[in-house]
Symmetry: C2
């Protein structure tokens, strides 16, 4: 099985973070993951409340999130466990993720703006 | 001549801002424009110091910047004057542009990180 690629913290690029979060579906996945207590599995994340994301799109969204440095994925048997790299990212790019999620009205605990 | 499209402040979407600024060349143009005293013309912005952007790419970059809501363009004779919409944008998405430019190490007055 092909190993999963995760960039080292120092190699994470702002352009990759911005591109990954320029898709509202990926933002919704990322926010749901950030709010999950334990690592979210792909299947648990397919249902985003107001819409269901097909498995193939979901898998691609996770690849973009992972390879940009936003998410850490780990295979566990047939499942994939995912968690955000928020703490690390905030060291490298202070305030960036928070400002982006605020712009989307998606900061945990904040009412959605539109 | 076709009128230039600029979204109203309330219609500016975070995904469009993020997409526009997920390209380091567009970020460089935007930063140079933000630092210019008067509106920058396209031709004055083609030379970004370490690289020269072909006119056709530059024109497309400006279209993306304008239609995402980052830049205001105005035709003046044969030239186009451009300015950033930073003040307005900061009302709508507080801290977003600053956090993005900081991540790129491109905040005016800040040394470039890489």
């Amino acid at each position: 099985m092909r190993p999963l690629f995760h960039p080292a913290l120092k190699d994470i690029k702002p352009e990759a973070i911005l591109y990954a979060l320029s898709d509202p579906e990926r933002v919704a996945i990322f926010v749901k993951l950030a709010g999950a207590n334990s690592g979210g599995t792909c299947s648990a994340l397919a249902d985003l409340g107001d819409r269901v994301i097909p498995k193939s799109s979901l898998s691609n969204h996770f690849k973009v999130l992972r390879e940009s440095g936003l998410v850490l994925s780990e295979r566990q048997g047939v499942e994939m466990r995912n968690q955000t790299r928020c703490t690390e990212l905030d060291e490298r790019f202070p305030g960036l993720i928070k400002a982006i999620l605020t712009a989307y009205g998606q900061l945990p605990g904040q009412p959605k703006t539109d």
